[in-house]
Symmetry: C2
Subunit: 207 residues, 2 copies
DNA sequence: TCAGTTCTTGTACGAACGTACACGTTTCCC
DNA sequence: GGGAAACGTGTACGTTCGTACAAGAACTGA
C-alpha cells in the first residue's frame, strides 16, 4: 500500500514495463474506432487488431469506459505530435498562402494525414456531448486546434478580437473536415480554395 | 404477388394503416440516437422508448440496418419540414441581419430547435463515412442545408461563385453546430456573432 | 537467491443483442 | 359473411459482449 509501484498505480499511470504493449492496444483502438465507429470498440476487436489475447486488454484497461477515455487522450497526443512536427518545420513569418497550405496539409489532405485519427476524434466528440466524463479530452482537442491555427495564421483583422477569429477558422476547418470525410467528390484543392477564400477575408492584407 | 398491397411493399413504402405506428417508432429511434449515440440504437431500446412491444420494431423494420436507414431519412424529412416552416414565414428580401437571425434560429439556438435531431444526424454522417449504404441520406441532408442557406443568404460577393460561398457557409455552420454541441459555455449570442462576422465578409454590402 | 510485484493468458458466466417465428387480431374487399 | 392481407405480440435461440478470475511466467530489488 506504500510501495513505489502502488503509488504509481494510484496516480493512474503504469510504470514503464508494459507501456509498449499498452500503446500497441491504444493504437489498435484508434484504428478500430476510425474504421468502424464507437460501437465497434469492443475488447475482443481491439485485442484482435492489436494481436494480443483478450486478457491483455482487460488487464491494461479496467473497463470499456477506461479504454475509451485513454484512447481519446492517446489520439489527441498523437495528433499533437504530428501537428507540432509540421508546424515546427516552418521558418519565417506566417503568410496567407502559407497558412492555407499548412492548414490544408494538417487537416484536409487525406493523402498526407491518416484520416482514421480524425474520424476517431469526431466520434469521441459526439460521445462527449452525451457523457461529461469525456469532456476533458474534447477540451484538449479543441484547444489543440486553436493553438495550431493561432501559430499558423497571420495577423487577423484588427476589428475583430483574435480569439474570435480563431474560433471562426477552427469551426470552418471542422466543417470542412466533416464534409471532406462524408463527400468523397470534394477534392483537396477545392477544400483549400474554400479555406483561402475565408481566410482572405479574415486576415489583414499583406503588402 | 400481383395485388396492390404487395406492389406497394415492393416499392419500399407500406400502405397507410400502420404509418402512424411506423413513425412513432422512427421518432423514438431518432431520440435514442440523439441521446445515446448509434450504439444505443437497439430494437429493444427503440421499442421501449416508443411504447411498443419488441415484435413491432422487427415487424416494421426487417433488420437493424433497415431501421437505421429509415431513421436517417425520417430525421432529414422532419428537419426539412421544420426549416421550410421557418423560412416560409419570412417576407421581404434577404438581408444580412435577417439571415444571421434565421440561420441562428434554425441551426444554433438550442432553445428553439431540438438538438436531438441534429445530433442524430451527425451520428449518421459519421456512419455514412464508413458505409456507402447510408450515403443517399447524408447527401440529402447536405443538400438540404445548402438549399436553406441559399434561400436565406443575400447576394454574395460576386468575385466568388455562389455555390462556393454556400459551401463555405454550410461548413462553417456545421462546425459551429459541433462546437455548440460539445462546448456548453458558448452562448447562442456568441455563435451568432461568429456567423455574422463571417457573413459580413462574404455577402455584398447593402446600402 | 528468493519473495513480491508486474505482466500474461485462457476460460467461464451472466446480460443484452439481432432475429426468426408462430399465432392471434384487425381491417379490407367482394 | 368470409377469405385474404395487414397488423400486432410474445417467446425462444444462437451470438457476442463485458467482465471476473485463477493460475502461470517474467521481472525486480534486497
Amino acid at each position: 500500500m506504500s510501495t513505489t509501484s502502488s503509488r504509481l498505480l494510484e496516480a493512474g499511470r503504469r510504470p514503464g514495463r508494459g507501456e509498449v504493449r499498452r500503446r500497441q492496444i491504444l493504437d489498435a483502438a484508434v484504428r478500430i474506432i476510425g474504421t468502424g465507429g464507437l460501437s465497434s470498440l469492443t475488447h475482443r476487436a481491439v485485442a484482435d487488431a492489436a494481436g494480443v489475447p483478450l486478457g491483455s486488454t482487460t488487464y491494461y484497461f479496467k473497463d470499456r469506459d477506461d479504454l475509451l477515455r485513454q484512447t481519446m487522450a492517446y489520439a489527441v497526443e498523437i495528433e499533437r505530435a504530428r501537428m507540432d512536427e509540421i508546424v515546427g518545420a516552418v521558418s519565417g513569418p506566417p503568410s496567407l498562402e502559407g497558412s492555407v497550405r499548412l492548414l490544408t496539409e494538417i487537416f484536409l489532405d487525406k493523402s498526407v494525414a491518416d484520416p482514421l485519427y480524425d474520424l476517431a476524434l469526431f466520434e469521441m466528440f459526439l460521445e462527449a456531448t452525451r457523457n461529461d466524463e469525456y469532456r476533458p479530452q474534447t477540451r484538449e482537442w479543441s484547444a489543440l486546434i486553436g493553438e495550431i491555427v493561432d501559430q499558423v495564421l497571420p495577423p487577423t483583422d484588427p476589428t475583430i478580437p483574435r480569439p474570435v477569429a480563431l474560433q471562426i477558422v477552427a469551426a470552418l476547418i471542422d466543417g470542412l473536415m466533416l464534409e471532406s470525410a462524408s463527400n468523397q467528390e470534394l477534392t483537396v484543392e477545392e477544400l483549400a480554395d474554400h479555406l483561402r477564400i475565408a481566410l482572405e477575408r479574415l486576415v489583414v492584407a499583406d503588402a
